[in-house]
């Protein structure tokens, strides 16, 4: 550990300013803020312990097990926020996310970032973690939009089917809408990226010891990887969940 106990204590001095302001102007918010901070400390401690073990043993199978665990946790959160039948969505989301994150992580490690990167905890864990986190965040609005649109306004789908369109063509407007709800915020943040503030991920890469050029390049490829993973996960989820979301006659099952 590069920080001594004295460093840790000195670091806690940073709490003085927010603590003083909350105490003076919004005392009611203090317990909530304290609870949130305590939760964060506990969660990060657990995460830290897991990462310590992963880095200590640096085994491919442990890394894959780690990926399965975070994907299952992310899928659970995603499905609960999608407001569609969890029994239908959970397994497809797990499989889709696992396949997409694994494929893009391996592509980044073995093709794009080679020879600098290798299949080790140091590269695999952060890359797959970033991809999973973004996939989770961006797929919540996308899947929710897709299923809510079909539930609330399924007539255009039936109209297209009734006029001889294939199921894929009839569902295309809904997929468009889901993609848009995913991409609009992503595109907005991409276009503003690096203008006034440094992205957290880039800061992390610089703190990790990479030079500015390498850090920016890896950041760009990770961002592209995130977009690919998100879209792959959405597409695979819709394909895998399709058989249980529609009946044999093609009617959407709410």
């Amino acid at each position: 550990m590069i920080l001594s106990y004295l460093n840790l204590l000195l670091g806690l001095l940073l709490l003085i300013v927010p603590g003083y302001m909350l105490y003076t102007y919004d005392r009611l918010a203090m317990p909530k803020a304290a609870l949130a901070m305590a939760k964060m400390v506990v969660q990060m401690s657990v995460m830290g312990a897991c990462l310590w073990a992963l880095f200590r043993y640096d085994n491919v199978w442990f890394c894959l097990l780690w990926l399965v665990i975070i994907v299952v946790a992310a899928a659970f959160l995603l499905v609960s926020r999608t407001r569609y039948r969890s029994a239908v969505l959970f397994l497809p989301v797990c499989i889709a996310m696992l396949v997409s994150v694994l494929a893009v992580s391996l592509f980044l490690i073995f093709v794009v970032l080679r020879p600098a990167a290798s299949m080790s905890a140091r590269w695999f864990v952060p890359i797959s973690g970033v991809l999973t986190a973004h996939t989770l965040m961006l797929n919540i609005p996308a899947l929710r939009t897709y299923y809510e649109s079909l539930r609330q306004d399924g007539q255009p789908y039936l109209t297209l089917l009734g006029n001889g369109a294939s199921r894929m063509a009839a569902l295309a407007p809904y997929v468009t809408r889901a993609l848009r709800s995913m991409m609009v915020p992503a595109i907005a943040s991409l276009s503003a990226m690096g203008l006034f503030v440094m992205p957290m991920l880039l800061s992390g890469l610089l703190l990790g010891g990479l030079g500015p050029v390498d850090a920016v390049l890896i950041f760009v490829f990770l961002t592209l990887g995130c977009m690919t993973t998100c879209i792959l996960t959405l597409g695979l989820t819709l394909i895998l969940a399709d058989r249980r979301s529609f009946n044999r006659q093609g009617q959407f099952l709410c």
Partner: protein
Amino acid sequence: MLELKDATLTLGGRRLFERLSLMAPSGQMTCVTGPEGCGKTALVQVMLGFLLPDEGLVSVDGELLTPLSAPTFRRLMAYLPQKREVTITPVEANISGLEAVWAPLDSRRYQLTPIDEHLDVAPLASKPIVIADDPDPSMLSVLKSLAAGGHTVVVASQLEEYINLSDKIIMLGNHDTVIS
């Protein structure tokens, strides 16, 4: 020709029609009518293969309509839905060119087009079977001319204009009656 034979349909525990038989021949306009909630739209959905009758058969030109064969048969059909904002752009021979005009989904690419103002008769004419669910009165002449041109036209409507000018009337309600 569209045919239902001894079809029974129950939805949400309610029997909408029982042992209903009807034949909608080519060159005629068949009107399915009856009070609100009697199952007109459900009958249209059965004809399109979206709903499966509990008993009985649906056939198109003598071929059985099943969940498996329905997509193929729907290529022969033009479906005008109840919702007025939705309409169909020209189909011609290419099925993949078919699009729904649906403003809420994509307001930049599609525009809201009331069905009665911009309905192009050409794509309807390319389909031998036309099924209209609660169409606007202004559609009457279009549908009538399609029937006169040899198409099978089925209309689900309560409007007198349609009832009076149809060649065949199917009254849904307590007793399913066919009046020719």
